[in-house]
């Protein structure tokens, strides 16, 4: 915001100061409200197309050239649908839930920097803010499930809340590793710390032993928190019809979809910021051209993360509830804690090669130990025979 303010101030020197201030407020908000929902619309199309290709199908290709107008058609269709509220539903809560579900997703983007200095608010505690706001979606999910007065909705809500609360812990712990290494909670500073090195790339945290582990943990946690495949138990179609949004139709349903995608994309954005160097990349830097290149880098990384999500969705089957909980508490959480210790090693062991060896060894040993401890949960390979 400050950057935009200064930019505007310099460009429009002769307009009253308060207009510049208001504009500096409104521009990031307009950006967030304009760009991310647009990416959401695009993502729905890309996701359907990519899933189709993964299954050797074409995917939607009828509306417009290559089906590019499909999101428009979907939106129009969903707007024209009847809005049904169950007679016994808790009307107010039922109405409020879809509104609230979009908010956390959008709030996270406030602290995700897209270019040098280009972050809506440079909070000193940006990472914590992003993680804290992410949990608020649990409340909205619960409201939706409870207010519908439907067994399936309630079950979905229970699952959603349990899942979000459980996976919050390893996700935050994985983030703590980055916070420790960067020595700050500000997202902008974290990204700046990942600059430099070879081609602005080699200092990304994902290219550290602890960073790689943290990245994997964070991606898994992010998938679980935004209830995306393979952690989409709260809305498991085959078991719970639609989970917490069973009783929603029309535009409210669209809001649920949007909230879910926005949350998923927000987690992708935070992952990019924390581990993939945010807007850092060859060519990004201060100045107009550098900023544009940086923005390009950020959004291509975001697109890459979204594609990774889609790829995972197209591949892995859904977990069982007990597997889900066991995975969070018995694998992810210990690994995240071990990872924090690894960052400690990294920080204090002085010759870099030694730090590399020790951290990698430490993490590998613990990974093997955890695998051994959880050996009973690893399923045998089963042969299915049809007679």
């Amino acid at each position: 915001m400050e950057t935009i303010y200064q930019l505007l101030h310099v460009t429009f020197a002769n307009v009253p100061a308060w207009t510049v201030q208001v504009a500096a407020f409104l521009i990031p908000i307009a950006f967030i409200f304009g760009v991310y929902p647009a990416i959401f619309a695009l993502t729905t199309l890309v996701e359907r197309k990519a899933l189709g290709r993964i299954q050797n199908r074409y995917g939607p290709n009828r509306v417009g050239i290559f089906g590019v107008l499909q999101p428009l058609a979907d939106g129009l269709k969903i707007l024209l649908k009847e809005d049904i509220v169950p007679r016994v539903a808790d009307k107010f809560t039922h109405f409020l839930a879809p509104v609230l579900i979009v908010v956390p997703g959008l709030l996270v983007y406030l602290v995700v920097p897209v270019a040098p200095g280009m972050v809506a608010v440079d909070l000193k505690i940006g990472v914590l803010f992003a993680l804290a706001v992410g949990t608020m979606s649990a409340i909205a999910l619960f409201m939706a499930g409870w207010a519908s007065r439907n067994k399936f909705s309630l079950l979905g809500a229970v699952r959603a809340v349990a899942q979000v609360v459980s996976y919050e812990v390893p996700t935050v712990m994985a983030g703590v590793a980055v916070i420790m290494a960067a020595g700050t909670l500000s997202t902008l500073t974290i990204v700046q710390r990942q600059g430099g090195g070879i081609l602005n790339i080699s200092n990304w945290y994902v290219f550290r032993p602890w960073g790689l582990v943290g990245f994997v943990l964070f991606v898994i946690g992010g998938l679980a928190e935004s209830a995306r495949c393979p952690f989409d138990l709260p809305e498991a179609e085959s078991e719970l019809i639609g989970g917490y949004h069973t009783e929603y139709s029309g535009f409210k349903f669209a809001l649920f979809q949007m909230g879910e995608y926005l949350a998923g994309m927000a987690m992708a954005g935070v992952t990019v910021t924390l581990f993939l160097g945010g807007y850092m990349g060859p060519g990004s830097g201060p100045g107009l051209v550098g900023s544009l290149i940086a923005m390009l880098w950020f959004f291509s990384k975001l697109a890459g993360m979204i594609m990774l999500n889609i790829w995972i969705r197209g591949t892995w089957p859904r977990l069982r509830v007990d597997q889900l909980m066991g995975f969070a508490w018995k694998v992810l959480l210990p690994l995240a804690l071990v990872n924090i210790v690894a960052v400690g090693f990294w920080h204090f062991l002085t010759p870099r090669p030694l730090a590399w060896v020790v951290t990698t060894g430490w993490l590998v040993i613990w990974f093997l130990v955890l695998t051994k401890c959880n050996a009973s949960a690893i399923l045998e390979k089963r042969e299915y025979r049809y007679v």
């Binding site: 050797n56 074409y58 990974f367």
Partner: protein, 196 residues
């Protein structure tokens, strides 16, 4: 080699191969984009009957013998024989209607026809907006050329063609034999004018 998460990684490899491959190898995409693309229907598929003509639509094979009309179980065929001005039957249909809302595609009409005239079609785009008159197939709708028949059912059409040809040859041979016999008879009969 066995390592934790092997199945997951292998799964990802399979889907990635599908994803990339579907852009480069056309034969991976099994979808038939229906209105633009169609696949040849199998020889034995059948929908509703049609009438075969050989050279032109005004010379159908059908002789309006009404055997199929009688045999059709749901009685969905209606035939009127064509007659000339004097009321002499012309051995061809004036009207030939099949109500495809009644026809149950049993192929009995095809089996009983002695003239290889009525055959099962495999055209499946017969939807109409009306329930009654639109679904009655009239003579012009029903008449289709033998070439069309050969195209949709090559094997059967060849059999039918061979059979008809054999019949025609047999008939011609018989006729020739009859002519020859008549000639022989005429020749055998002494002084009977100029023999040709």
């Amino acid at each position: 080699m066995n390592y934790p998460g092997k199945g997951l990684v292998e799964g990802l490899a399979v889907t990635a191969r599908n994803f990339v491959g579907s852009y480069f190898y056309k034969d991976r995409l099994t979808t038939v984009q229906y209105p633009e693309e169609r696949i040849q229907t199998p020889e034995n598929s059948r929908t509703f009957p049609f009438l075969v003509f050989d050279e032109s639509p005004d010379k159908p094979r059908c002789t309006a013998c009404k055997i199929c009309e009688v045999e059709c179980p749901p009685k969905c065929i209606y035939i009127v024989m064509d007659r000339d001005d004097k009321g002499k039957p012309l051995q061809r249909p004036k009207a030939f209607d099949i109500d495809i809302s009644v026809c149950m595609q049993c192929q009995i009409c095809v089996e009983v026809c002695p003239f290889e005239s009525i055959k099962m079609d495999n055209d499946y785009e017969k939807s109409k907006y009306g329930r009654f008159n639109d679904l009655v197939q009239r003579l012009p709708d029903l008449l289709k050329s033998n070439d069309y028949y050969r195209q949709i059912k090559p094997v059967k059409a060849a059999e039918v063609d061979a059979k008809l040809k054999a019949e025609a040859e047999a008939k011609a041979a018989k006729k020739a034999a009859a002519v020859a016999a008549a000639a022989a008879k005429a020749a055998a009969t002494p002084p009977a004018g100029s023999a040709t």
